[in-house]
């Protein structure tokens, strides 16, 4: 059984007080509680402060390019669907550069877990607006305030009938841990948008700002009602719901591919066999 020490990675280079520390700690706790070993997990990350995440724990790691986590994660999952594949990205990475991949990963319903560290700002490049930065916010390169409407990833995911949609908050670790565990135990593409304060570049969406607004979704809320989920997804402002917003049991991509019905692709015979048959087709 793996313990917390098995998940100890390199010393993080994040700013002191960064919301990422809480997400990292929560992730490790969740893995230990799920009884997972580091080698059973592959984290695919992109570029941004969240992209460094896998180096700060222990797991198989593909730290790829900005915006491209989901295609890499999809390729890994299709080649080895027994592997737990988690994509860890930021709001700029996943909702900006990688927006098209997000839409199609949700459509495919590949059983990948997507954890988005959503701090509503670009941290690594020092303070430019991200797709989730609120309208009107003044930044270094948007002196007249952000003119585009704030993106709502939760509503987008519900609209696409995403298999599991949740919002967490880095300031509520116990709640976030349960979301991570639920997402991993759910069969289907799972998005957790994690509100994560950037203490250096986002002076608006601070810990206090979030704490004043977030609330746990009511227990009687029906997570399988898509219309209600869409209403819930639209809540943002004075009150921000956190918890599981929507889930369904759509069949996953891996189960629909006959080739990997009995065994993962990577475990199958690698050496080509029975080539005579294909050769004969050319005569």
């Amino acid at each position: 059984m793996a313990g917390l020490e098995d998940y100890k990675g390199l010393q993080p280079a994040w700013c002191p007080g960064c919301g990422n520390y809480a997400i990292l700690k929560t992730f490790k706790d969740a893995m230990v509680e799920l009884g997972l070993e580091p080698h059973q997990i592959t984290i695919v990350s992109g570029i941004g402060q969240a992209g460094k995440f896998p180096h700060y724990t222990r797991c198989n790691t593909f730290n790829g390019l900005h915006g491209r986590t989901l295609p890499v994660a999809t390729g890994i999952k299709l080649a080895n669907h027994e592997m737990l594949v988690i994509a860890v990205t930021g709001d700029g990475d996943c909702y900006g550069e990688g927006g098209n991949h997000l839409i199609h990963a949700i459509r495919r319903n590949v059983n990948v877990k997507l954890f988005v560290h959503d701090n509503q700002i670009y941290g690594l490049t020092k303070g430019q607006p991200s797709p989730t930065t609120m309208e009107g916010v003044v930044t270094k390169n948007q002196p007249f305030g952000v003119m585009s409407e704030q993106m709502n990833p939760i509503a987008l995911a519900v609209a696409l009938d995403c298999s599991f949609v949740a919002r967490g908050f880095a300031g509520d670790m116990e709640h976030l841990k349960n979301l991570m565990k639920s997402a991993i135990q759910h069969k289907g593409f799972s998005l957790i948008d994690i509100l994560q304060p950037c203490v250096t570049f986002n002076k608006i969406n601070t810990y206090d700002w979030y704490r004043q607004r977030v609330y746990h979704i009511e227990e009687e809320y029906d997570t399988e009602d898509r219309v209600e989920a869409f209403k819930k997804a639209l809540e943002w402002g004075d009150k921000i719901p956190i918890g599981i917003i929507y889930k369904n049991n759509r069949p996953i991509l891996e189960e629909r591919i006959p080739v990997i019905k009995d065994s993962t692709l990577v475990r199958q015979q690698n050496k080509p066999i029975n080539l005579e048959k294909v050769l004969q087709e050319f005569y």
Binding site: L10, E37, P38, H39, Q40, T42, V44, I47, K52, P54, H55, R58, C59, N60, T61, F62, N63, G64, L65, R68, L70, P71, V72, A73, T74, G75, I76, K77, L78, A79, N80, E82, M83, N100, H101, I103, H104, I257, P258, V259, I260, L265, V266, Q268, Q269, N270, K271, P272, N274, L275, E276, K277, V278, L279, F282, Y283
Partner: protein, 578 residues
């Protein structure tokens, strides 16, 4: 025997079906076949043609002169009438096209065959008109019908005996009509022999991938590469391959890299225009040392260009693509046979050295079908360079990017043991974790680039040298011009000491210590570099890397392939002027 048959008409009229079937009849009869196609970027209408050359001797290029022109639209006649040989035949159905009035100065054999009428009378449906046409051509050529009957039986097996019978009767009706009415037909078929293989380059790449143990192919459709995806998708179940249509080319290359990282052989394919989107992924493959094979079908560019036509204008793009410096290998097969073996070699080198390897082609060679006597499956190279299961488990202190003598690090399969497989698009240390320090950076560049490169260069085969051993004239080319150049050499060698150098293993350029092609070019009076592009990209590569400058460049960039006659004419023209 060396006949050319051209079938022309609108898209949707079944030109491809007729062409494919005839080519198969010829290859099964043991003849040598070369086919090529010309089509527009549309599904219905327009003017398209399918051309078949059939001979009892090896053929590997299209000729300009046509022996039988079957016209399904008037444009086929106006466009191609002047291509018909003196004793050639124009075939058409006057009930469909009207009676074609020739000028009194045109001396031409025409055969008016009522395709539709015969189809209705003998097959019971006008849909059989194409079968009538196939039968008629075989009748004109005085070949036998039995092979066509076998093909009909295979093709319509699932549709049942009635459909088979109707098609067989239709073929016979066309055949008998041609035998009876084509009084000017003077075609004499050579003896038939053992059946030959018939395949085009995209099929050969697909087959080569299967034979190399490719398990994953992700791509976004784009002419002329789509055929690879279609071919592999058809084989998914039989050979345990996953074919995933990605949302764009960026996703396609990243998915293939993911699959490769997870432990399976993976390939992606696109046109050169689609490759433009993959370029950052190429750099990622290089930095993470993830093996990948990338197939690129060139077409006339820039931008959308001429989507269904041919060009060789992305050589320098592919050789130089992506930010940063890293080793890569570029192949450009000149025939389906070369495509098969080079795809196999691409998989081997890609995994052996953990580098990206390219298989480049173009529309002309993608669609062109060739005959082969066969492929010896024993020549396939398959070595699994990945560390799996017990092998990985027993290692102590695994490091994904370990610095070794050869620069090649152990390629472990994630999940197969407690060893963690870590890699990063950032510069990283031996464990795969991101670093910033100068010393590690330098050691990693040396590992990835300088240690591997000399070993990779050793793997590259010399160009194919064909013709006179001490030539006055050398024609040089790469990729799809192989067959055309070879036939041109055969023709020109009657009056010249001429030879060809064909490069299918293009980059790194072959080492001259194995075979000194530079001296051959230097010692010749004339060296021609033949390319389907405007600026002579291979010539520029040769000058940049080897310091050799060609005396003459022959370039064609109209989107249409060279014909043998055209190339011979160009070279002949130069020789007269020089």
């Amino acid at each position: 025997m060396d006949y050319t048959i051209k079938i022309g008409g609108e898209a949707g009229q079944g030109i491809q079906t007729i062409g494919d079937t005839l080519a198969r009849v010829f290859s099964r009869s043991g003849y040598h076949v070369f086919t090529n196609q010309d089509y527009e970027s549309r599904i219905r209408g327009g003017h398209n043609f399918f051309q078949i050359r059939v001979s009892d001797k090896p053929v590997m290029a299209a000729r300009e002169k046509v022996d039988i022109l079957i016209a399904f639209d008037k444009e086929s006649i106006s466009e191609h009438l002047k291509e018909i040989n003196e004793d050639g035949q124009l075939v058409y159905d006057s009930s469909a096209l009207g009676v074609i009035e020739m000028g009194s100065d045109v001396k031409l054999n025409t055969l008016d065959i009522p395709f539709t009428k015969l189809a209705i009378e003998h097959g019971g449906d006008k849909i059989m008109a194409n079968t009538v046409a196939i039968g008629a051509i075989l009748g004109m050529l005085r070949m036998k019908l039995n092979i066509l009957e076998d093909i009909i039986k295979d093709t319509f097996k699932k549709k049942g005996g009635d459909i088979i019978q109707a098609n067989v009767k239709s073929a016979k009706a066309g055949y008998d009509f041609a035998v009876k009415n084509c009084l000017t037909c003077r075609f004499t078929p050579a003896d038939t022999s053992k059946a030959k293989m018939l395949l085009n380059t995209v099929e050969a790449i697909g087959f080569g991938a299967i034979a190399s143990g490719c398990k994953f192919y992700s791509a976004y459709p784009m002419t002329p590469s789509t055929g690879i995806m279609n071919y592999l998708a058809e084989k998914e179940k039989d050979y345990g391959i996953i074919v995933e249509q990605a949302e764009d080319e960026i996703a396609a290359i990243n998915m293939a890299l993911g699959a490769s990282f997870a432990g399976v052989r993976a390939m992606t394919g696109t046109a050169d225009g689609g490759f433009a989107l993959m370029v950052e992924g190429l750099s990622l493959a290089a930095m993470t040392e993830t093996p990948i094979v990338i197939c690129i079908g060139q077409r006339p560019a820039p931008a959308t260009g001429l989507p269904t036509r041919t060009e060789q204008a992305s050589l320098l793009f592919v050789v130089n693509a992506a930010h940063g410096e890293f080793p890569r290998v570029v192949f450009a097969p000149g025939s389906p046979e070369q495509a098969f073996y080079l795809t196999n070699k691409a998989f081997d080198l890609s995994e052996k050295y953990q580098i990206p390897v390219f298989v480049m082609f173009d529309q002309y060679i993608a669609d062109a079908e060739w005959t082969l006597d066969g492929i010896d499956l024993r020549n396939i190279k398959y070595i699994d360079y990945r560390l799996r299961g017990e092998q990985l488990k027993n290692l102590e202190g695994y490091k994904r990017h370990k610095i070794t003598e050869t620069g090649v690090s152990p390629l472990g399969v994630p999940g197969d043991s407690v060893h963690l497989i870590v890699t990063d698009s950032d510069e990283h240390n031996e464990e795969g974790h991101l670093i910033e320090d100068a010393e590690t950076r330098v050691r990693m560049v040396q590992k990835r680039l300088f240690k591997k490169l000399p070993l990779i260069k050793q793997e590259i085969a010399p160009p194919l040298f064909y013709g006179n051993a001490e030539p006055d004239i050398v024609i040089v080319g790469w990729g799809s011009t192989y067959g055309i150049m070879k036939e041109a050499v055969d023709i020109l060698s009657m009056h010249n000491k001429i030879a060809m150098l064909h490069f299918s293993e293009l980059y790194p350029l072959p080492d001259i210590s194995k075979f000194d092609y530079i001296s051959i070019m230097k010692n010749a009076r004339f060296s021609f570099c033949v390319e389907q592009n405007a600026t002579g990209q291979f010539a520029r590569l040769m000058r940049a890397e080897m310091g050799y400058e060609f005396k003459i460049n022959i370039n064609k960039y109209d989107g249409r392939p060279f014909t043998v006659e055209k190339l011979v004419g160009e070279i002949d023209g130069w020789l007269r002027r020089l």
